[in-house]
Amino acid sequence: MKKPNYKIDEIVLVFIVVVIVMIVSIFEQNASKTIEAEKITFLLLDDHKLSIANNGEVNANKLKEVQNMGYEELKNSLNVKNDFCIYIEDENGNIILSKGSTKLNDDGFVCRE
């Protein structure tokens, strides 16, 4: 049986293609997350039934509604796939309110349901 006779250039080409595919895949994943974060931000701040703000000012009643929702319920309402965490912090970085997945929790204080 005759052994396939590949040239070095062809092997290098295949390798480059694989690398490009991997890089694109990684970027797409990150882009996906970025898009989802933007989507959540958009839904929370712009005209939407879950919007908690109007003209940049948080509506306390709407915020209370969102707070009263369960995380999975909120996730389904927002129609996003990735886990997320929403929190409001003051000018000193102190948490005022938070809601989100425990998967993004690091010390047990932030983004618990």
């Binding site: 959540i40 931000t41 409001i88 005022i96 938070s98 997945s101 929790n105 690091d106 204080f109 932030v110």
Partner: protein, 701 residues
């Protein structure tokens, strides 16, 4: 027998020796054959003396007595019959000299005295050498100019005691030094020949004192200085300074054939004997026009002679060039703008020199072919695109006239009302004139005012091109104008002309009531049922349910608020009165609307400390209608906040407005992480409870 014999021989030998010895001592010529040892005679009296066996005499001689000096002299001491005796002379000092004295005595004044002594009457004495018990000068000098003295004892004999008397206080020739003096000198005194110190004097001085300076004249009245060194010697002379310019008495030539002499101060004196000019110098001032004179070697002016080619004021045409004589020289001064080598003054009649006079090189009008040649081809004074002949030609300007927007009479009347309300009498007067003259143009109409503008979409005023949206004010005109550049541009008033036409008239991005130009005024008063003015009543001006503006009444109960034209709901509130609402109040553009309120006693405060008419917490509602604050600090913190807002109570506590109690601030920093995948965070600034906060959305997956 032998022993006897030996003994005998010995005896014989001893005897023989003894015999030899005795024989020798017995010799009368040998006075020392018998003598006594000095000092062994104890009995010193007259008569034979016994040597007491201490002396040895020759056999047959007997020692007699002691001779004091143990010297037996021949003829004086001798042995007589074995006895040594004197030969009859006195041998004791002091004895009278009967038969002479035995040596070493000698007779002195009839008494025997030792040699050197003399008979003193009682005893032999040495003769007196000096004054007894005195110091006597020996005649020798000693010590420091002293005199040697020897002591004479009580016997008048010299002793060996010497002393040096009358010494001075120093050694001749010696010196003493003590301390510095004078110019690096030392105090000194010298011991003189009398061994006495001289007075102190300063010796070894230098020639000057350190730092001392000395000057002397040098050079031409100069001065040079030298300075005394630290060793009190003069240093070398310094350089000669301050020298004058010359040596006194020296002379030199100066100026214009003049002479000057050096003065005693080494400065040149004044220059005398000068002439009136410098040799070779020329001058025309001293001569008639276009003549000049030259200065001679004796510094006097020579005669005037002609200078230049012409006389000032003369003119001429030479080869069609016009020349004048501005300074005694012919100079081309003609006008030859067309460069045809012939000046206007010499008969050239080309249009560059005389407008509207054509010659063969010129054309009747500018053409597209000549609009870029930088020449005024038609001699109308305008070149290329500036010439209206070139208007519209590619790359040239477009002639545009002043265009003013024609408004409507009612618009001017609106404007008049506005200026009237603003009290701008000058503007009102101008608007009234426009209305009276039926002149409703936005600016003074003047179709002859034009300009050639590079941008065809320009506005023109006073011959100047303006770009789109340029803003100007014509002196004395009614409005400030804005250029609305169409084709051509048109000047419009720089404000919203019509507040209800749906057009952004002044192109400022705001249309009709959205434009502040259309703001109207809401005013009125708030009184109670007794027709008394209510002070500090709040007027909330709402569009739908949103408060867009507030006003407060003054002491007369009046309020006023400038507000965009539109329809509003008004609510008057006061803590002591029940609120009152007026709905659908219409404010027309640039018009005033009056809305008055009459409140009845009660309160506008709700239980949450807000007015019924708004959603703001009012500190003034404290204690009314169930409104309470935790304390004054909380009340002040929550004033004008909204129910549920959080306000700082102090550095460590917060309150939830309006009636919440202080709660400890819990500060937790946000920490999010993504164990698998990438963490993406989006941050937006939003207002929460009246404060800007960050809304963060983080995703992970």
């Amino acid at each position: 027998m032998k022993n006897i014999f030996k003994f005998a021989i010995i005896l014989v030998f001893v005897f023989a020796l003894s015999s030899i010895y005795v024989t020798a001592s017995h010799d009368p010529s040998d006075i020392n054959a018998c003598f006594c040892k000095p000092g062994l005679w104890f009995d010193f009296g007259p008569g034979p003396k016994d040597c007491k066996g201490a002396n040895v005499c020759a056999s047959g001689y007997t020692p007699l007595y002691d001779c004091p000096f143990a010297v037996l002299e021949p003829g004086i001491n001798e042995c007589i019959s074995g006895t040594c005796a004197c030969n009859g002379c006195s041998n004791l000092e002091g004895e009278q000299c009967h038969s002479g004295c035995c040596a070493p005595l000698q007779c002195s004044s009839g008494h025997c005295c030792l040699v050197g002594k003399v008979w003193g009457g009682d005893s032999c004495e040495f003769p007196q050498e000096c004054a007894q018990n005195t110091w006597q000068n020996t005649g020798n000098s000693c010590g420091n100019c002293g005199t040697q003295q020897r002591f004479c004892d009580s016997l008048g004999q010299w002793t060996n005691s010497y002393q040096c008397a009358n010494e001075g206080i120093c050694s001749t020739g010696s010196s003493e030094f003590d301390g510095g003096c004078g110019a690096c000198g030392t105090y000194r005194r010298d011991c003189d020949s009398a061994c006495q110190w001289s007075n102190w004097y300063c010796s070894g001085e230098g020639s000057c004192y350190p730092g001392q300076t000395q000057s002397q004249a040098c050079g031409n009245g100069g001065t040079q200085t030298r300075t005394c060194t630290s060793s009190c010697g003069w240093g070398s002379w310094g350089s000669c300074t301050g020298e004058g310019a010359c040596s006194p008495g020296q002379t030199q030539s100066c100026g214009s054939c003049g002479t000057q002499t050096c003065q005693s101060n080494s400065q040149w004196g004044s220059c005398t004997g000068q002439g009136v000019c410098e040799p070779g110098q020329t001058d025309s001032s001293g001569c008639r026009a276009c003549k000049a004179r030259t200065c001679l070697n004796n510094c006097q002016w020579g005669p005037c002679s002609s200078s230049g080619s012409c006389t000032t004021g003369e003119t001429q045409c030479v080869n069609d060039r016009y020349q004048t004589c501005p300074s005694c020289t012919w100079t081309n001064s003609g006008t030859n703008a067309d460069n045809d080598a012939k000046d206007l003054q010499c008969g050239d009649s080309l249009c560059d020199n005389a407008a509207n006079v054509y010659d063969s090189t010129k054309t009747a009008t500018e053409t597209s072919a000549t609009c870029k040649d930088s020449l005024d081809n038609d001699c109308d004074g305008k070149t290329d695109c500036v010439d209206s002949d070139c208007s519209g030609v590619a790359g040239c300007c477009t002639t545009i006239s002043r265009e003013c927007k024609l408004l409507q009479e009612y618009q001017f009347r609106d404007l008049f009302r506005r200026c009237y309300s603003e009290g701008n009498e000058a503007e009102c007067e101008r608007i009234r004139d426009r209305i009276n003259n039926n002149n409703y143009y936005a600016c003074p109409y003047n179709p002859s005012d034009s300009s050639c503008c590079t941008n065809p979409n320009s506005c023109v005023v006073n011959g100047v091109c303006y770009e789109d949206r340029a803003s100007i004010t014509l002196p004395g005109d009614t409005f400030r104008l804005k250029c609305v550049a169409r084709s051509p541009g048109q000047w419009v008033p720089e404000f919203e002309i019509d507040c209800a036409n749906g057009i952004d008239d002044d192109l400022d991005g705001s249309t009709d009531c959205s434009d502040q130009d259309c703001d109207g005024t809401l005013n009125g008063y708030v009184k109670n049922q007794n027709n008394q003015p209510i002070l500090l009543a709040d007027i909330n001006i709402k569009k739908d349910l949103t408060t867009v503006k507030t006003a407060t009444t003054n002491q007369l109960g009046d309020y006023s608020a400038s507000i965009s034209c539109g329809t509003y709901n008004l609510v008057a509130s006061h803590p002591d009165y029940a609120p009152q609402t007026k709905t659908n109040v219409v404010v027309l553009g640039r018009q005033q609307v009056e809305a008055n309120f009459s409140l009845v006693l009660g309160t506008s405060c709700e239980a949450d400390c807000t007015y019924a008419a708004d959603n703001l917490v009012h500190a003034s509602c404290d204690g009314k209608n169930g409104c309470t604050f935790y304390d004054d600090i909380a009340k002040n913190a929550c004033d004008l906040s909204q129910p549920g807002w959080i306000r700082d109570y102090n550095a460590s506590h917060y309150v939830v407005c309006a009636s919440g109690s202080p709660k400890l601030k819990v500060e937790i920093k946000a920490v999010v992480s993504c164990s698998s995948g990438t963490l993406v965070k989006m941050v937006r600034i939003v207002v929460y409870n009246g404060k800007p906060v960050r809304l963060v959305v983080a995703t992970c997956g």
